[in-house]
Amino acid sequence: MEGAASRRPLRFVRGAVNSTATPLLEARGVAKHYGPVVALRSADLSVSAGEVHALLGANGAGKSTLVKCLTGVTRPDMGTISVAGRQARARSPMHATRLGLSPVFQDPALVPDLSVTQNLRLTGSSVDAVRSQLDEMRLKVSFRELVGDLPLPILRMLDLARALTHDPQLLILDEITAALPSDLAERVFDVMRDRRERGRSVLFITHRLAEVIATCDRATILRDGRNVGTMVPQEGGEARIVEIMLGPEAAKAEAEASRRDEPEAEPAEAEGDAVLELNDIRVGGVQGISFTLRRGEVLGLAALEGQGQDELFEALAGQRKLEGGELRVRGKAFRPRHPYDAIRRKIVLVPPDRLLALLPQRSVRENVAAPLYNTPLRWGPINMREEGRRVRRAVDALQIDMRAARQVRRLSGGNQQKVTIARWLASGFAALLCNDPTRGIDVGTKRQVYALLRELAADGGAILFFSSELAEFPLVCDRVLAIYGGRLTAELAGPAADEATLLQAMHGLELDEAVA
């Protein structure tokens, strides 16, 4: 079943590779609505041959819907899509691939209960071709593994390798770098550069502006379901991108807000009481870590993928058993065996995957109030007024958009994330464990989250913070601890935790500067 050879995409007319010539992909006036919700109003997109083109926009701006229309996952209500000058609309992802558009979605198109080989065979991909693509990316995976046994980042790379075997004219990467460790992300950038050198193109959907500026030739920005600007990212920088993404008034307010966000040059020395003490903790990849989380501080944890940070968060929140070491909450021993034990001691978790934390069909109010009734003692009649008050306070503090409040699944990603935080505001907490709280949400909401976390700390809360975006650490944290090889390798003051330094520490390297 030699897939690659027999399924080559249509050979387009090869003229001079010229970006003013017929664009490789052109979408005009694409519109799509789901019931009363208009996801795309009239979106345009034009990608030339031989370029890396970014697709940006806040959550709800229409990026994922546009990609779904381009790749045949959904049918647009209106609009035209042309590939190399010929009108062609993909009817399914397979069809899109035949047209020369190969998508790589955030959720890998691989089923967990079959092996890699079986998965590839199912889709008619050549096992050898995929393996050679992986070799080019300097990755090795045994194809006999069951897909369910492999970690998500590897599955994404497999998906990418498979897409590459079709030699697509346009490679569409939908938020592929979200939750990819930087070493794998590097390989993705290499792939993107390579495509460009061969005269092919890449459509890169992401929330990470720094990556866009470093890798993309042009960027199209969507807002409210339409294209509000196509620009060269390097010319305007992040500020310009954010301005276009949010709209001029919003951007101005953002700029003011973020100026207020700037942490002081001197990290506020947290002298508060110890809330959570870790003593020689062993769990997952963590081999012996000790630190103290105090009231009034935001403590960051920086680590590469798979260093045990997820297991650490889970253990602290009561979802996983510790393998060794001792925990204390406010001086007293803490041995949680169930999330309830942790929540009772006011240690609460905001998980990286908000789908794990939310009740999709229930209302915002029910979601926010959920932990209040987690014990049989509270199963009796609800004091609706008291509940209403708590929920309202939390919703206001987070500025949650309540328009689709009846079912949380109708909210945008950013609002959903706010709900996962709001529930702990409503129930009260001593330590808030945030594992990648800003994953996959838009810039505007991210800034709100940063400001909120700093505020909560200032009010006496203790916050443990992990992010896969290094740029966030200096904005949010008072101190940052780096983990590598299962141990702490460095402790930095928040403002000193710039990307370069962090990366060195995360790789276990000696730091250039003295540690704060």
């Binding site: 609505h33 019931g35 009363p36 919700v37 208009v38 996801a39 109003r41 806040a58 959550n59 709800g60 409210d224 379901g225 949010l246 919003a250 307010a253 953002e254 807000a257 929140a317 979802q319 169930h338 999330p339 309830y340 942790a342 929540i343 978790l349 789908l355 794990l356 934390a357 939310l358 009740l359 999709p360 069909q361 229930r362 029910e366 959920a370 932990p371 209040l372 009734y373 987690n374 014990t375 049989p376 509270r378 199963w379 009796g380 009649p381 609800i382 609706m384 500025q399 958009d401 328009r403 689709a404 009846r406 109708r410 909210l411 945008s412 950013g414 609002n415 838009d442 505007g444 909401t445």
Partner: protein, 331 residues
């Protein structure tokens, strides 16, 4: 500064109506019920020369529907958590037998025996599903098998079957000629359930566990507690149903509640409760129960053969659920 996340257009009036129906599916169902009543009325006038929508007939309809209403109540709660209880019919029958068996020793003893049996079976189910994480289909299948076996043994033995007077009255009396005693009972239970689901912490937890068990656990809910209790409650309601049934027939029989198993699932589904959990209500189930009961009367009036009843019954389930899915725009 809030970023506007969803572009919500101004909705046309049709969309507003549509959304109201989606969020309140009970309205559609009541419409279907009314339609059925009208249809039955027309057929009755044609066949027997009398209208169907009389006080007497209405009263009988509710009388007949009440036991199913009880059994479907338990099934509703279980299905809200994403499970299903296939043992409700034999639990009801077992409760009826227990009551008759102890009935000779006194009314209270009889009733308590029946309820205890129901709760006991429910607890067994709950422990299996909640503590040992057995799939509800299998667990309740197993308990129903065990219950049926035990029942067959006891039914074989001859013992004095005394249905307590109170139970018989509850099952078959009507006040003022038209108000069935069991309807009063049903109404009380219904009120408790509807209010309970909406305004108690346990109600919230049922929806939470059914909607996303992982998220519920992360919020500190000890899911096994919720599940053990819900199956025990289901057993209790099945027992109520069994008591009402035996009160009506005055004769505990092995096949007493057998048709009620699938009817209970059908009533809950027709009533709009999602089979995957996390969405639904008892008010919908009530209308579902009534629809099935009136449908049964209609088919009897049409002198439908048994096989015709079955086919129509099955088709109705599919058609009604399809309509509901279409109206609510389920993904």
């Amino acid at each position: 500064m809030t970023v506007v996340p969803e572009a919500l257009e101004r909705e046309s009036r049709l969309d507003v109506v549509r959304r109201f129906l989606v969020d309140n599916p009970v309205v559609v169902l009541v419409g279907v019920l009314v339609l059925l009543f009208v249809l039955t009325d027309l057929v009755n006038r044609h066949e027997a020369g009398e209208p169907f929508v009389t006080w007497n007939q209405l009263s009988t309809t509710f009388l007949v529907a009440a036991p199913l209403g009880m059994i479907a109540a338990g099934q509703t709660l279980v299905m809200l958590t994403g499970g299903v209880d296939l043992s409700v019919a034999f639990t009801a029958t077992a409760a009826a037998f227990a009551t008759s068996w102890q009935g000779g020793n006194g009314t209270v003893q009889g009733i308590l025996a029946g309820l205890a049996v129901g709760v006991g079976i429910g607890l067994a189910n709950g422990i299996g599903v909640g503590v040992f994480r057995v799939n509800p289909l299998i667990m309740t299948l197993g308990t129903s098998s065990v219950t049926f076996g035990l029942l067959s043994i006891y039914a074989g033995r001859s013992f004095e079957k005394v249905v307590p007077g109170f139970v018989a009255g509850l099952g078959s009396d009507r006040f003022f000629d038209y108000l069935p005693a069991n309807l009063i009972f049903w109404a009380a239970i219904a009120a408790l359930l509807i209010l309970g689901l909406r305004y108690t912490g346990y109600g919230r937890m049922l929806y939470a566990v059914g909607d996303n068990e992982v998220a519920a656990r992360l919020a500190g809910v000890r899911v096994w507690q919720v599940l053990v209790l819900v199956y025990a409650l289901c057993g209790l309601f099945s027992a109520f149903g069994g008591l009402l049934l035996v009160g009506f027939t005055n004769n505990p029989d092995l096949g007493l509640a057998t048709p009620y198993l699938l009817q209970s699932v059908a009533a809950v589904v027709i009533g709009g409760t999602s089979i995957f959990g996390g969405w639904g209500s008892y008010s919908g189930t009530i209308v579902g129960v009534l629809i099935l009961t009136v449908l049964g009367s209609l088919l009897t009036l049409l002198n439908a053969d048994e096989w015709q009843r079955q086919v129509i019954y099955g088709a109705i389930i599919i058609v009604l659920t399809a309509i509901y899915a279409r109206v609510s725009g389920a993904e």
